[in-house]
């Protein structure tokens, strides 16, 4: 039983990361019906910018004295950087194709993904880059279940970000405008919404969340690599599809389900750990085959963007 709870905690932690990552896929799809292949690159860029900032602060001795402040600082900076990167990508690679076929935009996204990944490889090298993790060592024992400081950090941060996103999308004027734009671009223009600005903002938010996820993964595994966006990217995409692509609540739920399945499969399926990456893909294929609109896609209508 303790073993199960332990795995459960691990599953939620990983699931939260997938949820943050999946939101960018689903929000962008909701607003311009594009599967943004370059989204994984914002996650990777986030992982890198995070470690670069942390290392810089470490070199100046701040990590030793104020590690949490440094983390907060690097998180904000990284999310901002990736948000701007995403807005630039949207402007350069997608906006000029707004009136073209969906296939051309998709190919442009694929090209952007390759470009950004290679850019990261050329500037940062092909080897793992280590994260400073000394400050997140240790943990709590709760009735035999061990929760590490790292997990608490990731869970807490994920909860805060998901909460802020929900409030933004469902409570604020800009959030309403985002949903209106996703639902009817002509009508949203007729009430005075500038859809270009809303689309740009959507990319920024999605990339900011992916960047936060990238830092968390860097901290959790202790290192990042230039191609780190790919496999988790497909899993996050599977999460978005599972939740019903375009549905924000669905993407969060899908993220937690994929994370949980992956951890549980590794824990309980014989040799599951060796092919844990397969389970997300199995789910993706099953969902596409049996319920292509996902678990929240058509039934719980009002949480689609």
């Amino acid at each position: 039983m303790e073993y199960f709870f332990q795995q459960f905690i691990n599953g939620i932690t990983l699931g939260g990361v997938y949820a943050l990552f999946a939101l960018g896929y689903t929000m962008v799809y909701g607003i311009i019906q594009l599967i943004n292949f370059a989204h994984g690159e914002f996650f990777a860029a986030g992982g890198y910018v995070g470690v670069i900032v942390l290392s810089f602060l470490g070199a100046h001795g701040y990590m030793g004295t104020h590690p949490w402040l440094c983390l907060a600082f690097s998180l904000v900076l990284t999310m901002g950087y990736c948000a701007m990167l995403a807005m630039a990508v949207e402007k350069i690679a997608y906006k000029p194709l707004r009136r073209s076929t969906r296939l051309s935009v998709l190919l442009s996204a694929l090209g952007m993904s390759i470009f950004l990944q290679n850019g990261l490889m050329l500037t940062q090298g092909v080897y793992d880059k280590a994260y400073p993790t000394a400050f997140v060592q240790g943990g709590l024992d709760i009735g035999g279940v061990r929760i590490s400081i790292m997990q608490l950090l990731i869970l807490g941060l994920t909860a805060v970000l998901l909460f802020i996103l929900n409030a933004l999308v469902f409570r604020t004027r800009i959030g309403k405008a985002m949903r209106a734009t996703a639902q009817d671009k002509v009508m949203s223009a007729l009430v005075g919404i500038n859809s270009n600005r809303i689309i740009s903002l959507t990319f920024a938010i999605g990339a900011g969340l992916a960047a936060a996820a990238g830092i968390m993964v860097g901290l959790y595994y202790g290192a990042v690599r230039y191609d780190m966006g790919f496999v988790p990217g497909v899993k996050a995409f599977a999460a978005a599809v599972l939740g019903g692509i375009g549905n924000i609540t669905g993407a969060m739920l899908g993220g937690f389900i994929i994370g949980m399945v992956e951890i549980m499969a590794a824990a309980y399926v014989p040799h599951g750990g060796e092919y844990k990456d397969v389970f997300a893909f199995i789910i993706l294929i099953a969902v596409l085959y049996f319920m292509p609109t996902g678990i929240m896609g058509e039934n719980v209508d009002d949480t689609r963007v």
Partner: protein
């Protein structure tokens, strides 16, 4: 008469290679109700969408308050008082009734004024108040039309463009909606351009009318004169 508040001069518009407007010219003066009538496919909706900049004029000019607006981005026009209730209502289906109304006031910052206007809309259409937490997509056709008009009121229009508000609605609801259109015009001095297939209703409300056929204005006259015109009676009033 005063200067026209809204004017089209030789406006053409195309969908791909199909020409939908073949040189439309019309004038709308402050405070009046003008109707545009014509058969299905005549170009009435395209005319309104071209005024609002959603469809780009390929030639000619649209002027609003003396300024050429045909090259402006459509989203800047509502704040200047040019507001459309489009054909088919286009309610945001997954926003609540209340949120749909908020969107009508998207460009406004005067929270108190917005609140007052929302109360006004709820007074005009009590059913919207009852359903304010319900997604717009779950309303009936008549309720959606009320919501669409309410959403437009939230933007405090100077010129209100209405595209077939009677389409698909029961006669009683149509009457109610036309009464409210009339009261908007009388109480707020709102200028109204009313597109209708129900020519009888429209000509009885409007002061002037334009008749559109396959992308051209074929007739313009006082509404009364159009009502009595035998050709119009035959073609559009079912005689």
């Amino acid at each position: 008469m005063a200067e026209p508040i809204l004017e089209m001069q030789g406006v053409t518009a195309h969908y791909g290679r199909i020409q939908a407007l073949k040189g439309i010219s019309l004038k709308v003066f402050p405070g009046e109700i003008v109707t545009i009538i014509g058969a299905n496919g005549a170009g009435k909706s395209t005319t309104l969408m071209t005024i609002c900049g959603i469809v780009r004029a390929t030639a000619g000019e649209v002027r609003y308050r003396g300024e050429v607006i045909s090259s402006q981005s459509p989203d800047v026009l509502p704040a200047r008082g040019l507001i459309q209730v489009p054909e088919g209502r286009r309610i945001f289906p997954r926003l609540t009734v209340s949120e749909n109304l908020d969107m009508g006031a998207f460009f406004r910052k005067d929270e108190d004024g917005i609140r007052r206007d929302r109360d006004l809309v709820f007074e005009l259409f009590p059913v919207l108040k009852e359903r304010r937490r319900q997604p717009g997509g779950t309303l009936s056709g008549g309720e959606q039309q009320m919501l669409a008009i309410g959403r437009a009121i939230m933007g405090r229009p100077t010129v209100l463009l209405l595209d077939e508000p009677s389409l698909g609605l029961a006669p009683l609801i149509v009457q109610q909606i036309f009464r409210i259109v009339k009261s908007i015009s009388e109480e707020n001095k709102t200028t109204i351009v009313l597109v209708e297939q129900n020519a009888n209703l429209a000509l009885n409300l409007a002061s002037r009318g334009y008749v559109l056929e396959t992308g051209s204005v074929v007739l313009e006259d006082d509404a009364r004169a159009l009502l009595e015109n035998p050709d119009i009676r035959k073609a559009y009033l079912g005689e």
